[in-house]
């Protein structure tokens, strides 16, 4: 019962973080800031979802398998995020600056 409640909480939190990541991707002004949104918010969302489902797993092995996905996703994000940022910089994409009021 308590596990179910925790799972509900974690799945909803995951959905919120994924939504925030998408919102950042749509709203943020340049590729660098969008990368921040995706690399960080989406990974946190995935972590919440994985933790929530691991609580419901039938065996320890399944739970560990679910949790093993998270570090892989983190590695992918860090590596791909770096590649994209470097490519943008090499393409001469100038970081967005806020306007003084």
């Amino acid at each position: 019962m308590l596990l179910d409640a925790l799972t509900t909480l974690l799945l909803l939190a995951g959905a919120v973080f994924f939504f925030a990541g998408t919102l950042g991707l749509l709203r943020f002004p340049d590729v660098y800031t969008r990368l921040h949104a995706l690399a960080k918010a989406d990974n946190l969302g995935l972590g919440c979802v994985l933790a929530g489902l691991a609580l419901q797993a039938d065996s320890l092995a399944v739970a560990l398998k679910l949790l093993a996905i998270w570090p892989l996703a983190l590695i992918a994000s860090a590596a791909v995020g770096y590649s994209i940022a470097r490519r943008a910089e090499r393409l001469g994409v100038v970081p967005w600056q806020e306007q003084d009021q």
Partner: protein, 96 residues
């Protein structure tokens, strides 16, 4: 509240699918080629999330293996992309 965890998982999976669609639209729209590369990040995180949620909601445990493989491939290809830049000393031309 009257719903099971499986139903919630299905609902969240559908919600993530909508997110993925919106995000892919942005990635496809650009404006720079670097923006389009953001799609690669989306499949690693949102794609994996949808797969594990569906595995739980649909009761097909094999989808967890698919998700694990997808995450593994995303990590390996990400490292392959970044490796020369991280470990290499010279910046060669990679205009392709």
């Amino acid at each position: 509240m009257n719903f099971t965890s499986a139903e919630l998982a299905l609902a969240v999976a559908l919600f993530l699918l909508v997110n993925l669609g919106a995000a892919l639209w942005r990635a496809a729209r650009g404006p720079t080629p670097a923006d389009r590369m953001l799609a690669a990040l989306l499949f690693g995180s949102t794609g994996t999330g949808i797969l594990v949620l569906l595995a739980f909601a649909g009761g097909s445990p094999a989808l967890v293996d698919v998700a694990l493989t997808l995450a593994l491939l995303a990590a390996i290809s990400g490292i392959a992309f970044a490796q020369r830049a991280w470990l290499g000393k010279v910046e060669e031309d990679d205009a392709a």
